[in-house]
């Protein structure tokens, strides 16, 4: 089905391929930018939630490119994030580089590592690829523990931009927001253009993609490298936000969270990683508040309380896969379609 809202006609191919193709979307996006800009005022002391969402949304964009659009699964996304975080840590502490240099450097370091990890994807597919990336995840954790700092953690300095020391949630938020927006728009542009077309072709039918002149190895490796780049940027942001990093921040649990984010958000949607990151972060927070309250009321619940987060995510994933495989983004689209046609639903 391709339902088009009435009265909004496209008169050029450029309009047809615009990211925000109708007036309603452009207005909506403008409103979203406004709300994001005013978020520190609106959210007050809850701004830390948006900071966490932003960081993980940037990382999740990478997973969505890799898994959603290129069809390659990775269970090592937290390890790419670790590469970025520790690159940033090294760059700012050992080499005294400013944050604005360390940030892209982290992305580039992860990009290179991602390309190497992506190499086997030409030969191994699906579950086997997942296991190969899982190996990378554990190797990275092992390397971190045995080289840079054990599990004790490494202290990362607060970011400094120009002469300004970034302190507090609000200042960090305004550092994060441009990175988040640029990251999201860059991915959206990639997907609608040449690279996105090639990635989706590889995902949908790799042998046909070859016949159309697509070099499978190049695009699979590119997908891994791009995903790792986003994770590296997210890792660097996380390091400077959290100020302490250790192997525990980048464990397999985080990798799985990333998968949960894009599945919940919507695998093949540009909004998916953002919605998914928001959902996962918010649900985690709500559970942190609700679980102790429930345990206080029903002490017998105490035993299950430690793993209630995993249980909730697991149930959520199963539910979504059964009822709405398109994730939250698809729910949003269905709602929009309903609005497009309202009040005449035929």
């Amino acid at each position: 089905m391709s339902v088009r809202p009435a009265g909004d006609f496209k008169t050029s191919y450029a309009r047809d391929m615009a990211l925000l193709d109708i007036r309603f979307h452009r207005a909506g996006f403008g409103l979203l930018l406004l709300v994001l800009g005013l978020a520190p005022l609106l959210l007050g002391r809850y701004l830390f939630l948006l900071n966490a969402i932003g960081i993980f949304a940037v990382g999740a964009i990478g997973v969505s490119l890799l898994t959603g659009f290129a069809g390659q699964i990775s269970l090592g996304h937290a390890a790419f994030m670790a590469v970025g975080a520790y690159t940033s840590w090294l760059a700012t502490t050992r080499f005294g580089l400013p944050f604005l240099v360390a940030l892209p450097l982290s992305g580039v370091a992860a990009f290179v590592v991602g390309a190497v990890v992506g190499l086997p994807s030409l030969r191994i597919k699906g579950l086997y690829l997942a296991i190969a990336t899982l190996a990378f995840q554990f190797i990275t954790e092992y390397v971190i523990i045995h080289t840079v700092g054990g599990s004790g953690g490494n202290v990362v300095p607060a970011p400094r931009v120009g002469g300004l020391q970034i302190r507090g949630e609000t200042q960090f938020y305004f550092l994060l927001l441009p990175v988040w927006l640029i990251g999201g728009i860059f991915a959206a542009n990639l997907i609608r253009g040449r690279v996105g077309l090639a990635l989706m072709a590889v995902r949908d039918r790799d042998y046909a993609a070859q016949v159309l002149g697509i070099n499978l190895l190049y695009y699979k490796v590119l997908a891994f490298a791009l995903a790792a780049f986003y994770a590296g940027i997210a890792g660097s942001l996380f390091a400077h936000y959290n100020r302490v990093i250790s192997s525990e921040h980048f464990s397999i649990i985080t990798s799985i969270d990333y998968i949960a984010m894009i599945v919940i958000g919507g695998l093949t949607s540009l909004w998916g990683p953002h919605l998914g990151a928001a959902f996962v972060i918010l649900l985690s927070q709500v559970l942190k508040i609700v679980t102790p309250a429930v345990v206080a009321l029903v002490p017998a619940f105490g035993k299950a309380a430690t793993s209630v987060r995993e249980i909730a995510f697991g149930a959520m994933l199963i539910g979504l896969l059964i009822w709405e495989p398109g994730g939250l983004a698809m729910l949003l689209r269905k709602f929009k379609r309903y609005l497009d046609l309202w009040p005449f639903t035929y």
């Binding site: 860059f186 040449r194 077309l197």
Partner: protein, 276 residues
């Protein structure tokens, strides 16, 4: 237009091609060539090795011996994506579109080999990448016009009827602007009307664009009417080659299709060896 014409402007030459899978010989010393603007049909009973020939030409299979030249350049050992860039387009017997993508995106993907903008330019989009993309979009729209599938542009391919999917697949191959088109049963499973449409497109491609094509098809009526020249294969060997009228009455061809005692094959409608 018989085979006795001197070989001017050969697009493709296949020399003594042999392909076997663990002892099973799929292609046995096959040689043929394709001239500029020629429509060559390959016929033969099921399992004769027709699709294997196409798979060797576009690089899916690696023949044990023999050589393939495309426009004077040897391509025997090139990987499939390089051959695509050298100008070999192809459609598949069982449609091999990208099911989750729209018809438009599927055909657009055929233009990929002609697009140059890199990752950075693509991510920034505005400027050169956008202009390039729009230029290719306009080319794709011409193909959509040609195949009369305007109404299906924005539909996911998986939701389209079979006949339309076949058209989209032809469109995707045409979007590559190939110098040689391999069509593997483009009319299999189609209604008479859809077959007529497809035949019209193929004829127009040959007459107007002079596009050389190799066509595998089981509908004898269609293949006899369309092709300039036919090759008949059986058990991986070429058993006959020549203009359709000649092949139709060739004793070995009749034997391959019908066995020893029959005398007539082809002509009007179905000539036997029909695949589901």
């Amino acid at each position: 237009m018989g085979p006795e014409l001197p070989l001017v402007d050969t697009v493709l030459t296949v020399e003594r091609l042999t392909l076997s899978f663990a002892g099973l010989v799929a292609i046995d010393g096959l040689s043929f060539s394709l001239r500029a603007g020629e429509l060559l049909g390959i016929i033969g009973p099921n399992g004769a090795g027709k699709t294997s020939v196409l798979n060797c030409i576009n690089g899916f299979y690696h023949p044990q011996s023999g050589r393939i030249h495309l426009g004077g350049r040897e391509i025997t050992h090139q990987p499939p994506h390089v051959r695509a860039r050298l100008g070999i387009g192809r459609t598949f017997q069982n449609i091999a579109l990208y099911p989750a993508m729209s018809a438009l995106a599927n055909i657009m993907s055929g233009r990929l080999i002609h697009m140059r903008s890199g990752v950075l330019a693509g991510g920034l989009y505005w400027g050169p990448a956008e202009r390039e993309f729009l230029r290719h979009r306009a080319r794709v729209e011409e193909i959509i016009d040609f195949l009369e599938i305007e109404a299906h542009r924005n539909h996911r391919v998986a939701e389209l009827p079979y006949g339309i999917q076949k058209k989209v697949e032809l469109g995707r191959a045409l979007a590559m602007a190939p110098g040689l088109l391999l069509l593997d049963e483009p009319m299999a499973g189609m209604s008479a009307e859809e077959k007529a449409d497809m035949a019209r497109y193929i004829l127009e491609l040959r007459e107007v664009r002079g596009l050389p094509m190799i066509l595998i098809e089981h509908d004898m009526g269609v293949i006899m009417d369309l092709c300039d020249r036919l090759i008949c294969m059986d058990y991986g060997k070429k058993i006959a080659e020549g203009p359709p009228q000649e092949i139709q009455h060739h004793a070995d061809v009749i034997r391959a299709y019908l066995g020893e005692d029959h005398a007539v094959v082809g002509g009007g409608g179905r000539g036997g060896g029909e695949e589901a």
